[in-house]
Symmetry: C2
Subunit: 556 residues, 2 copies
Amino acid sequence: MEGMDRCSANCVPLTPITFLERAAAVFGERISLVYGTVRFTWRETLERCTKFASALVHVGISRGDVVAVLAPNVPAMYELHFAVPMAGAVLCTLNMRHDAAMVSTLLSHSEAKIIIVDYQFLHIVKAAIEIMSKTTPTEELPRIVIVKEFDRPSSNTNGFDSASDDLEYESLLETGKLDFEIKRPKDEWGPISLNYTSGTTSRPKGVIYSHRSAYLNTLSTILLNEMSSMPVYLWTVPMFHCNGWSLTWGVAAQGGTNICQRNVTAKEIFANISLHKVTHMGGAPTVLNMIINAPINEQKPLPWKVTVMTGGAPPPSHVLYKMREFGFLIVHCYGLTETCGTATVCSWKPEWDSLPDDKQAKLKSRQGMEHVGLEGVDIKDPITMESVPADGKTMGEVMFRGNTVMSGYLKDLKATQEAFKGGWFRSGDLGVRHPDGYIELKDRSKDIIISGGENISSIEVESVLFNHPSILEAAIVGRPDDHWGETPCAFVNLKNGFSATEEEIIKFCRNNLPHYMAPRTVVFRDLPKSSTGKILKLVLKEEAKAMGSLTKRLTE
Amino acid sequence: MEGMDRCSANCVPLTPITFLERAAAVFGERISLVYGTVRFTWRETLERCTKFASALVHVGISRGDVVAVLAPNVPAMYELHFAVPMAGAVLCTLNMRHDAAMVSTLLSHSEAKIIIVDYQFLHIVKAAIEIMSKTTPTEELPRIVIVKEFDRPSSNTNGFDSASDDLEYESLLETGKLDFEIKRPKDEWGPISLNYTSGTTSRPKGVIYSHRSAYLNTLSTILLNEMSSMPVYLWTVPMFHCNGWSLTWGVAAQGGTNICQRNVTAKEIFANISLHKVTHMGGAPTVLNMIINAPINEQKPLPWKVTVMTGGAPPPSHVLYKMREFGFLIVHCYGLTETCGTATVCSWKPEWDSLPDDKQAKLKSRQGMEHVGLEGVDIKDPITMESVPADGKTMGEVMFRGNTVMSGYLKDLKATQEAFKGGWFRSGDLGVRHPDGYIELKDRSKDIIISGGENISSIEVESVLFNHPSILEAAIVGRPDDHWGETPCAFVNLKNGFSATEEEIIKFCRNNLPHYMAPRTVVFRDLPKSSTGKILKLVLKEEAKAMGSLTKRLTE
């Protein structure tokens, strides 16, 4: 239409940086972040991020460079979510559970120029760089910036070498200039962060988020959490996981307060909720499990309804039910690293309030529908790309489409194009669509158990196990079988002071599931987990494999 | 970064059409719209919009064509906000107060192919087309689609000629196909709607909104209203005004229910609030004034806190205070047609809750700060483009920058570029910035009164008048004066059953304002208003001009 003029008055690349600037302008004197006795205001947070961005540029970071970080949810970790993009650079958050070998792989792959590391993890990074130095010229190794304990700068920093090139976060920040001109993205499709997939099953892939996708996913995540302005957000989700499910940026957008904590324990969660009047938090089902199984003396009554966004793995309905009893309001979301975290939400309908509790929990354990910023989620036949019927039974692959889907896998265009084949992002997750349109995950395609030609959803079996009064945690994998191909094998971790036998558990499952879906083997043990609380099924699969075939006499 | 791939999986033009599709998918069986006894679900609304879009294409509407509408807040008016963009066309909503001459001007200027008109306004449109036909070939005249009263299709449709080319909304809709492929925008910067400025002072200009600006302003407006999912929204703001301050699209985005009403009276507002459990509504200060002055027998207790977004003119603090007493929660916003409606919000801080009521109302009557989707609002010297100091005193022009600013003025690139000169949208409003960063409007630059070289903010004087117990409404304009240049002239409308003299009112103002700011003339009369409730100061200025200079003996 004639008369239109695209210029700086009406065209600004979308970027979460705006959220921080606005928070400082509107909520300047409100508390942005609390960490133990440390407190900052939004004005201070903008100042600190501006100075650190300036310092990064001063030490040689250019537009598009990668700055890596390995740290728990400490203040620096939060600040880097703004400071790094403000320097025009790309933030690469590393998983705290990685060992030195993996860290060296990721630092090499991402070509990170700087690695910012919390003192607790310095030995990992030192060892990683040691590994890298065997094949990388010294001048190409990433520089280390150590983050000391904020209010205890003399904290153990074994291995920190101030005589070397190593830098220290606060000192480096102090060299920054307040009048630094923020390097906003020239193009909103430009990268803001790099999140390596958790790699529970394969070599981690570097997932690229754009400023645009981060911006839009942030607004969507705020909305699906019903997060009104000035929330108090407790950081139980690691910020390294999909940038804290977008809420690193989201708390700034809503002028809220970040309650940071180094360690996530039930005791600290309960204590922080009442101390800071927390309104929102998040956590994988394992975190919820930890909360509901906390010793009585660690529990504290909630000061008001606390909204908990859960996701990362399908939450057993039993866990959802218990959390509600505690007074938590659960928002059940689903997504992958490739969807910037949250992609769907099980929107709760008021008419469900009058259903029996177990029915409610079952409805809530579904993954729901796309959030407002996503164009669509569908369950499709991966070959024909046809949508499955909404019958709650026919399985297909979960696929996503929209602006909050990743830009691609770093240096792996082939993998990117494979993932986007057919114009949808193929998640590798299997699910069904219910008649009301809501989707429900049945399994990761690699976790499905095929026994005698029948597909067994490990999630369905696990969900039954979670209802057993003695079971704290459970995971089902396939155990190789000469006759059936595979049989379901349960790994269970019992609650303290409870007991159960293999026979009892198998019988319990047979009473609640089709016969063929019940486990044939039960192993009692602690479950291996990733730092985001995901159970590492690959480890369990190896273990089940090592057991060999179950003898034939167990056939029905 | 290598590995990125922009494709249909991760790149979809932003458009509010998505909101409707998602509402139908997630909230399909929930009520989307209520109008008297009429009720639709979101599934039905999507179906009706799809069919109407299909019908529009069938009667010859192509991508980029303008479809005009002249109607109150009836169901068709709501549906057109989706159906017209879904046909790839541009929605042009006309002001219900326009006369035939103005409607003919706007239909010509916009080159509308179709004009959809509510039966109550058919005579205006018929007369407008009659005027156009004198200079426009018949085949280029817009086709008429009449909207009859939904549940009373035999409603008076004087002048509707079914023998002619004229169409009827419901019949046309019925010809549409459900399997119509929605014509989504190819480019999110493409136009979605055309809103003519209210034209209280000059020839209306056609303000173009893009799909992108509409999308982003919608999300921002939802957030600043603290509108959680499934709101019940009462349509007191005309949808023709900035597309209902973006909430035509917003209610769909949140899966809410639209309560439509043909007429806006205090009685209907109170009745609908309790009948439908309204959670949100909106209204210019004159609507608030109507509510607080409603006869006791028309008032009903609120079923819960009702959030009211107000804007369009600075609300007198007295009105804000009274509304709060009623139990309304006021969200005070500010914006212009050129900012897609809402642009700033006076974000309320909890620490203000403990201040005295009058102080609270004064704080809330400020225009606040940019909403989350806007890059910035500033008060600048229009010549130097320097920001004024945040002293609450220095006046400057209010300027905006960001993605929710219009694309431009239709067919008037010169006016567009003038408005965007310096990279900011120049509003023509005058304001100050307070030390806490919040802005406060002082006047439209054209409404400021200059008396003896002093600037007098008409808003400041009006705000004092509103505190007078007998005054229902008031407006201040400059009256020409041989000695002072101008002197303030008050037009006041007294409350029913109350009285006051000119002398009393002048004295009241002198007791509450610097002497030179108090009116020298007081005229008692009803105030002329635009359909959005804005007082038409141009009319009053003409009247004051006609009075001539005030005699000199009144000088101090």
